[in-house]
């Protein structure tokens, strides 16, 4: 009898505990209701990508020396480099260069290792297309200037949370010139160089 009562008591205790946890969960959900909505009304408003954003890769045809470092550092050897070896000048002459963004994972290794900096990351991320082969960008497509949110007259650019002025939570209506919270990288650099005399 006592054993049975203990069982019932344990069961009731567990039920109460479960109810308590559900109550805690409810309070968390309730708390979320007064938080700032993070919604960006996308086609009309767009977030400004951060400086280190890894978007579509930009390629400068004239700088490329066809060294194929980008192919070697790429996890899947994605860039296609086509060149002729000019025997007279003993130099490679680039014929075409292409990257398939349907396969690229935007890891940025090629940009990191390119000896002549002919590859660079852009802030362009709208790469949707009706055919996946359209994503195979040749050197001309790779050389196009990237789309910029701030240049589009149809779009209200919004700053991300970390780029808002101090105390500001809502990106709407923040003036363009307003400084963001905290120190800028160049200021940190300056301060570091000031504290540490050039050796």
């Amino acid at each position: 009898m006592l054993k049975f009562l203990k069982k019932v008591g344990d069961y009731a205790g567990e039920a109460v505990q479960a109810a308590k946890y559900i109550g805690q969960g409810l309070s968390v959900t309730f708390d979320h209701m007064q938080r700032r909505p993070v919604t960006v009304q996308y086609p009309y408003e767009k977030l400004i990508p951060s400086e280190r954003y890894r978007g579509r890769i930009h390629f400068e045809y004239d700088k490329c020396i066809a060294c194929e470092v980008c192919v070697r550092v790429c996890p899947i050897n994605l860039p296609v480099v086509d060149y002729d070896f000019n025997k007279a000048t003993k130099k490679k002459e680039l014929k075409s260069y292409s990257i398939d963004f349907g396969v690229c994972i935007f890891c940025g290794n090629c940009v990191e290792f390119c000896p002549t900096n002919c590859l660079s990351m852009t802030e362009e991320y709208e790469l949707a297309s009706y055919d996946r082969h359209d994503l195979n960008f040749d050197s001309v497509a790779l050389g196009r200037m990237p789309y910029k949110v701030t240049d589009d007259p149809m779009v209200t650019p919004l700053r991300e949370l970390a780029y808002l002025p101090k105390g500001e939570m809502d990106p709407h209506g923040v003036p363009d010139g307003e400084r963001r919270a905290g120190r800028r990288p160049e200021e940190i650099l300056e301060e570091l160089e000031g504290a540490q005399p050039h050796s």
């Binding site: 039920a15 559900i22 969960g25 409810l26 968390v28 959900t29 309730f30 979320h32 209701m33 938080r35 700032r36 909505p37 993070v38 919604t39």
Partner: protein
Amino acid sequence: MTSGIDLQGSFIRALIDLGLSPGVAKAIWIPLPLLLMLIGATIGVLVVVWLERKISAAAQQRVGPEFAGPLGTLQPVADGVKLLFKEDIIPASTDPWLFTIGPALVVIPVFLSYLIVPFGQNLNITNLGLGIFLWIALSSIAPIGLLMSGYSSNNKYSLLGGLRAAAQSISYEIPLALAVLAVVMMSNSLSTVDIVNQQTGYGILGWNLWRQPLGFLIFWIAALAECERLPFDLPEAEEELVAGYQTEYAGMRFALFYLGSYVNLTLSALLVAVLYLGGWEFPISIDWLTGLAGLDPATPWLQIITAALGILTVLFKTYLLVFLAVLLRWTVPRVRIDQLLDLGWKFLLPVALANLLLTAGLKITFPAFFGG
């Protein structure tokens, strides 16, 4: 106890004064409250759908519907119109008759159950002596509709969803009925009006919530399960059963399921308000207040204010419960089918029986507090 305003009596009297026979006058009156309730329930659904979307958005730090009408209030209308204009598809090798009747069978009992929802002493369609039992009986029809649509869809997910939905409805009907029974035992009547009247007089202190806390919890959990709201929505789980019995439905037939589920949610919230939260009783007893102010409760303007306040109180309580249901939706994860049946049969059923026994014992011991 004041009888409140008697719309029916005055309407029929006015028609008789116009020279109509009493029979005709009554016949003209009969469809009016039905129509009003039908429209009210449908508009209630629009409000609930809007609330659900807005509250869900807020709980997930989104904005929610914004562009259709002020604050997106016309979004449910837009949804409805969209569903109305969609192509009416009956998939190949389904059973067209059962496929069509199924959704209707799910929706009709829910709308019929509004017969017994009171908004005031005389502000209901009928004060049936059968009352709450009618709702229990009617809500037991819905599983047939679910089985019908699940079977006729010619789709294994639909069949599984239909079977699950029917099993769930049957399992949770029993604790629901037992919780209702405990309330009925205290008020000595099945009629919803009597149940509310038994709670009036002491403001918030008189509500059944304090006398039946366990019953309230059981009823609310079982009602959520009956409505297939989120912790218990596994019959129409999108991720597991590709929306269960709704898989093959589109257009107006799907809209019927959609409408039915939200009407059912509103109905359950209304009935919780009636059974446990004092119905149209304001948290501070109006009778007591008027007595304090020295007013006659039969004053016409006071009666109108009381009636309006009563309707608003019922609606406020209902939407508060709907809010709780939406909040629960984004808090509690979906249960598995075995957990669902475990909860129904091994937890709610014994607890409901114990609650019934406890209520009976308390009723005999303290007849003054638990209804003589």
